[in-house]
């Protein structure tokens, strides 16, 4: 395994965390020093809310999947803490049926919080195993089911929860300092997770699950890991919450608080930890002010009458306004330190490429953090892998081969018994008219669809029907015909996410091969078209694949651009010593790039051989131009390709 952080990310996230921590500590000191118990009470509830919101952010923000069920984990933590902290005499009085060992139990603050987190994590693991198999919208539904399920369990499991009446007598352990430390710990955990490789992989899957899987991300596992982690935080938060609110019933863990916490997250910006805290702070301040108005205030001669229901109403309005003006929340995907850095660099909010952030060169000077790569100078000299040149032109067994592969979509035969082999170091071109099955073949080779019949062999193993991330991890990388970048990730993050194995290439080398230095901190969604193509190739190349599958890399490029692309592809092939299978309509590019060409038409192989032979093959001419008997119709130029 690689280290849990990409170079420089650990330090960056700790620095970013301290920027949030310092003001929070200051506020706590200030409020505590003022000696106003009411203000202290508000502060404690803010710290608790913020910790809970950050707990939700860890899953919702990074996975992009909405969860309505997290409050159930908070409830699990709260009930667990209550059951182990309420003094035995009060406990038995409330719950006569409680088992003796539990009735006599009385634990302190820390064991109660740990137990709360553990209970939530165990339940999350069981539920999550089912949830992560579902599609995103169904998952949202599943989490809603969890919320309702939790509520009915809390309301009906009377021997432990005292039903709808609820429990009282929880000792008041959650002081300002306890909740402050809890919030700081949660923030640190969330920041570290977000910047870790695991967190980055999950964020990639949020942006585009298919592209993430094709980059070697096991989307389900990443989702499950984050789900359990964030449930544990909710459990701990609930345990602390119980020791601050002291008496509660099942209603505390239902829609009202779900709505309140989600509102904080959405207003602040769900994709950022800073946003979660900012949202909690904003809502706390607004609620505090409005609650006073709601109860009626008198400012000297002027008195405002009580307005019941004002708080909920105003917060709902605030959400709508926030979403209209800042759909991604106050902070969007950025953390406080990102914002400061980008403001300093002058690139924030503008389309112009942001200059390299100050710390980037320091990353390069830390070779210890990238142990897998040879020292920089050597790699930069691009030592060609010797193995690559030896077996050129298809000598020896193919690295990747399709044997009699067939694939149909509801009666449409996209592929009927296609066989092809990519030799070591080969550049094989795959051409054919629109709808001939090229993209479908690529999708079968990269595991997006299983073949209906036939085999796919890679390095001697049958990989037909394996999942995309297994195939990607085994050493096949691909790009997509309709570019699939991660719109809300920076270029650097694209490449870091894909550099998943110890054997990956150095991120900086790949960046310089493709000339991506000027756009490193730009978001994928803001890039010019040609740059997007290069980022996609960089994302594939960084994994040092044995085979690189390129799906129409030159689509939409002019001649100069496609010449540049040609040089890039050959340079990467030489540097990585990989084989390349390239699909394109740009015959000029294919003829120059490929040593061999494979031609498909209507799902069947019609020709294979060297570019010269193929170009004059009558079957190929017929596939492109139609049979001579009919009027020679020009090759179709519809955009929609292949059944995939």
């Amino acid at each position: 395994m690689t280290r849990p952080f990409a170079p420089g990310r650990l330090r960056q996230s700790v620095a970013g965390w301290s920027m949030l921590a310092v003001p929070l500590v200051l506020v706590a000191l200030l409020v505590h020093g003022s000696g106003r118990p009411l203000a202290e009470r508000t502060l404690i509830s803010f710290f608790l809310d913020a910790a809970l919101v950050v707990g939700m952010q860890m899953f919702i923000g990074n996975s992009g999947i909405i969860s309505f069920g997290h409050v159930a984990f908070m409830g699990v933590g709260a009930y667990t803490a209550a059951l182990v902290t309420i003094p035995p005499d009060i406990k038995v009085q409330q719950l006569p049926d409680v088992p003796a060992w539990l009735g006599d139990l009385q634990l302190g603050l820390i064991p109660a919080v740990v137990l709360g987190a553990l209970m939530a994590a165990v339940i999350a693991l069981i539920v999550g195993g089912a949830l992560v198999r579902m599609r995103e919208s169904a998952m949202a539904m599943g989490t809603l089911a969890l919320l309702v399920f939790g509520y009915s369990a809390f309301s009906n499991w009377s021997s432990l929860t005292r039903g709808t009446i609820g429990l009282y007598g929880v000792p008041n352990n959650s002081t300002v300092w306890v909740t402050l430390v809890a919030l700081l710990a949660t923030l640190l955990l969330a920041r570290l997770y977000r910047s870790s490789r695991a967190g980055m992989r999950l964020q990639a899957s949020r942006e585009d699950p298919v592209a993430a899987a094709a980059s070697g991300v096991n989307v389900r596992m990443e989702r499950l890991g984050s789900w359990v982690l964030s449930a544990a935080v909710m459990g701990a938060g609930g345990a602390l919450w119980a020791q601050s609110y002291l008496a509660f019933g099942p209603d505390a863990f239902y829609f009202d608080i779900t709505f309140a916490l989600l509102a904080m997250l959405v207003i602040g910006g769900r994709a950022s930890v800073t946003g979660a805290v900012a949202g909690a702070a904003l809502i706390t301040i607004v609620t505090d002010m409005l609650t006073r108005v709601e109860q009626g205030v008198s400012l000297g001669a002027l008195s405002i009458p009580a307005v019941p229901g004002l708080v909920r109403f105003s917060i709902a309005l605030l959400i709508i306004l926030a979403l209209v003006f800042r759909p991604q929340g106050l902070f969007g995907r950025w953390e406080l330190d990102d914002v400061l850095r980008r403001v300093r660099a002058g690139g924030f909010r503008r389309g112009a490429p942001a200059p390299e952030p100050a710390e980037a060169p320091s990353v390069a000077s830390e070779p210890t953090e990238a142990p897998s790569v040879a020292p920089e100078v050597e790699v930069a000299a691009a030592a060609p892998a010797p193995a690559a040149r030896v077996g050129r032109n298809g000598d020896g067994p193919p690295v990747l081969s399709a044997e009699e592969v067939s694939k149909s979509f509801e009666g449409l035969h996209a592929l009927s018994g296609v066989s092809l082999g990519v030799g070591r170091g080969d550049v094989l071109g795959l051409i054919g008219p629109n709808g001939s099955g090229k993209t479908t073949l690529l999708n079968v080779l990269s595991g997006i669809f299983p073949p209906d019949a036939g085999r796919v062999r890679f390095l001697g193993r049958d990989i037909g029907g394996s999942t995309p991330h297994h195939i990607a991890r085994a050493g096949i990388a691909r790009t997509f015909q309709n570019i699939r970048l991660f719109p809300e990730l920076t270029v650097r993050e694209h490449i870091e996410v894909a550099a998943i194995d110890p054997g990956s290439a150095d991120v900086h080398d790949v960046i310089s091969w493709l000339g991506l230095e000027p756009v490193l901190e730009e978001l994928g969604g803001n890039l010019a078209y040609g740059v997007q193509r290069r980022v996609e190739i960089a994302r594939a190349a960084v994994r040092r694949p044995s085979v690189l599958l390129l799906d129409e890399p030159a689509a939409g490029m002019n001649e100069a651009e496609s010449d540049e692309l040609l040089r890039d592809i050959l340079a990467i092939r030489d540097r990585l010593g990989c084989s390349v299978l390239v699909v394109d309509h740009d015959l000029r590019l294919i003829m120059q790039l490929c040593e061999r060409i494979h031609v498909l038409n209507e799902g069947r192989t019609v020709a294979e051989g060297e570019p010269r032979e193929v170009a004059v093959d009558p079957a190929v001419v017929e596939a492109y131009l139609g049979t001579p008997r009919k009027d020679a119709s020009p090759p179709t130029d519809r955009e929609g390709d292949d059944a995939g």
Binding site: M141, S152, A153, A213, P308, A316
Partner: protein, 296 residues
């Protein structure tokens, strides 16, 4: 279970299922064209209910109350789209979800402030509490009416979707909105129409719902919304036929659990329904009639 009980329960299931089917279809019509889950959909049921409550003050006939309620729901639905969702046309799924969530809160609070936080009774005809005996089997009038009105509305709507050009446009738009626009279907009009149909369905379902509850309260829209959401997810989110199938599936499942669960587990009936549905989604993540997504 005797044959008599079986038939009684079957009518109950058909009646509950047809309400759910109407609700799910109303939610799906909007999801289809806009890709949004309208959390304020339940509030359309609330609006229908309160409109009926206001009209009922003058001793009006139930039919008139119902028609005014349905009209109010339809108009409110179109109004919601115009005021809250049109400015956010290009926003993400989550943004729209939260906007509608917030809108639902606002509407609920309006009823809480302007009417009362407590439930208000709505008079229903005595006929609804009676039962008729058909072939020796006693069947409640209300379930029969509900099933009849529900299934009748669904048939009429099917006719609209299949036979009218506006219905064809709606179906096209819910399969591929972008392409439908390119084929000359006006976006604003089709979205307005979708919200109108959604409001109409919520209104019809709302009348049937109020007839069962005989009272209205500010938070009454929650259960219908939840059931509509669940039913359309089981059916396959975005599939109109799936929504109807999911609605009936959910109705049957609920009646089945109520009829067969031991009394100790009855409080968990809703939770168990959800569990069963999560089970369905486990096996078929795309829903009963949904299209399969790309593999992960």
């Amino acid at each position: 279970m005797s044959a008599r009980e079986l038939i009684q329960q079957l009518v109950n299931a058909l009646s509950l299922g047809s309400i759910y089917a109407l609700l799910a279809l109303g939610l799906s019509v909007v999801y289809g064209v806009m890709g949004m889950l309208n959390f304020a959909f339940g509030e359309l049921v609330t609006i229908t209910g309160y409109t009926m409550y206001f009209v009922s003050g003058g001793n009006e006939s139930f039919l008139l109350m119902a028609l005014v309620g349905i009209a109010a729901s339809t108009v409110s639905s179109m109004g919601m789209e115009l005021v809250a969702f049109r400015p956010l046309r290009r926003a993400s799924f989550l943004t729209l979800l939260f906007t509608s969530f917030a809108l639902a809160q606002i509407i609920q609070n309006l009823f809480r402030q302007l009417v009362s936080p407590r439930p208000k009774g709505v008079p229903v005809p005595d006929l609804f509490n009676e039962a008729v005996t058909i072939g020796g089997i006693k069947i409640g009038v209300l379930p029969l009416i509900t099933a009849g009105v529900g299934i009748g509305s669904l048939l009429l709507l099917t006719l609209f979707f299949r036979r009218s050009s506006a219905g064809l446009a709606m179906r096209a738009a819910s399969q591929d909105f972008v392409t439908a626009r390119l084929m000359g279907i006006p976006a604003n009009r089709i979205i307005s129409l979708a919200f109108a149909i959604s409001g109409l369905l919520a209104g019809i379902a709302g009348v049937l719902w109020v007839a069962r509850l005989t009272s209205v309260s500010p938070a009454m829209g929650f259960t219908p919304l939840l059931q509509a959401f669940i039913a359309s997810v089981i059916g396959g989110l975005g599939s109109l036929t799936g929504a109807v199938a999911g609605g009936f599936f959910l109705g049957f499942l609920e009646i089945l659990l109520q009829a067969t669960l031991p009394s100790g587990l009855l409080p968990f009936a809703q939770a168990l329904t959800l569990l069963a549905i999560v089970g369905v989604l486990y096996v078929r993540p795309q829903g009963l009639l949904g299209r399969r997504a790309e593999a992960l």
